[in-house]
Amino acid sequence: MKEYASGEWQPTAALEVLKLRAQLLERIRAFFSKRGVLEVETPILSTSGTPDPALASLATRYTGPLYPHGQTFYLQTSPEFPMKRLLASGIGSIYQICKVFRDGESGRLHNPEFTMVEWYRVGLDHVQLMHEVEALVGELLAGHVALAETEWLSYHEVFARHTGLEPHTATAEDFERVAREHEIHLPAGPKPHHDVAIWRDLLLTHLIEPRLGQGRLTFVYDYPASQAALAQVRPGNPPLAERFELYLNGIEMANGFHELADSAEQRMRFERQQHARSTTALPPVPRDERLLAALAHGLPDCSGVALGFDRLVMLAAGVRSIREAVAFPLDRA
């Protein structure tokens, strides 16, 4: 039997912070109830997973009635797919507060299991949804964090402001030069010379994100089409993904989309992501054919957003790490 240091059984969050968690959950439910958004629950386990190469699913196995020979189930990285199946069945605007799971993610701002507040608004585009996010987060942080006026910046503007680069046309060499100028060093050896996406993420995480949302909510919107994930892409030059993120005090809090409703386009993106997984030695995951069938049936025009609840608690409580916002992080689970 493993022996633990004394105190290891105790929560890493202060009891006051755990009480604040409960209050915030209550206020979130009141906010949606007032707006007529329905609370739903969908399964955490699924026979399919996300093929997004930036996400790794945890998996478990069920054996018993229905699957006598055993079946692999993936723990959701987000409740997006089943919630969209509900939307396609005509349920209307919905929200869910649930646990989501991501393999490989542990750090000051990451715990591999965390709480997500995810909601979908039928008939709203991503701009209208950003304003609803502002209203909810503003209400939840009131009395905890003094917020200056909300800032709205396009992805292009944040890159231009903090790196001097045009993110949609800059080359890997441009990104590398700016990284070097700011003394951001990747180690010698094989470098992602030609992978513009990695350079963009490097500058985003090291240079831009820490400066976003200082004392205010900052919404970043209109992402490169290559980072559309599950967002609609607006044709143009360049085409832009109708996606947004919310930052406060340098911390990414929410990610939202004007949801892609085109089943054929969704299938193509899944295939591209599966291909990207295979080139980076990530295991393949079964495609969610039920989601594709639901989209083919018809997803109402809607926007959706996922808000990291533990980070919200962190910011409201004024603590520095996610450990101080959850009862038992991975190393005490």
Binding site: A54, E105, S106, T205
Partner: protein, 187 residues
């Protein structure tokens, strides 16, 4: 060649950086929700003491450094090398000026030091936190002054110069904090 993946990174891990051995001081996992994960790492170069920042793509590997800390007893200095002995095996090791550096002024025969070995060769020598040394030179100072305010320089038997209170005299032994170079008390 032993390697560590970013998943093994933690403070204290000994790794190779720019051809020199280093110790990880700080490791931060950063990842945009829909993007590439990185480990932002601060590493102390164990030869120069300098701290450098590096970023790794999560999942990358880095070469391990064959570095160990051992407790050795300081024996003597022959003018060029500082000689140490493992008190258990009686094995002796010599350290050059580069490894001993400024800490030479705290080294007193018999004291147990922490010697960091890289591929079996000393690269740094840490004296005990507190050493007891004899004053070989200082101004006589004012008799009866016990305030300690102001103080005066005193040269110790190892050559180190520290500020001591006015009442401390030649021939006395004192305790000194080697990390700050400050006088602590009479021994």
């Amino acid at each position: 060649m032993a390697t560590y993946s970013t998943n093994e990174f933690k403070a204290g891990l000994k790794v190779m950086i720019d051809g020199d051995p280093g110790a990880i001081v700080e490791n931060e996992f950063v990842k945009p929700g829909k993007g590439q994960a990185f480990n932002r790492v601060k590493i102390r170069n164990l030869k120069t003491g300098r701290i450098i920042e590096r970023t790794f793509k999560s999942g990358d590997t880095i070469e391990a450094a064959d570095v160990v800390d051992v407790e050795l007893q300081y024996l003597y200095n022959d003018g060029e090398f500082w000689h140490f002995m493992n008190p258990e095996t009686f094995e002796q090791l010599a350290s050059d000026k580069a490894a001993v550096g400024d800490n030479a002024k705290w080294l007193k025969e018999q004291d147990i030091c922490i010697v960091t070995l890289y591929n079996g060769v000393p690269i740094t020598v840490m004296p005990p936190n507190t050493v007891t040394l004899k004053i070989v030179d200082t101004d006589p100072g004012l008799k009866g002054d016990t305030s300690g305010g102001g103080g005066k320089p005193a040269t110790l038997e190892t050559g180190a110069v520290v500020r001591v209170p006015l009442f401390v005299q030649i021939g006395e032994t004192i305790k000194v904090n080697t990390r700050t170079g400050e006088y602590l008390s009479r021994a």
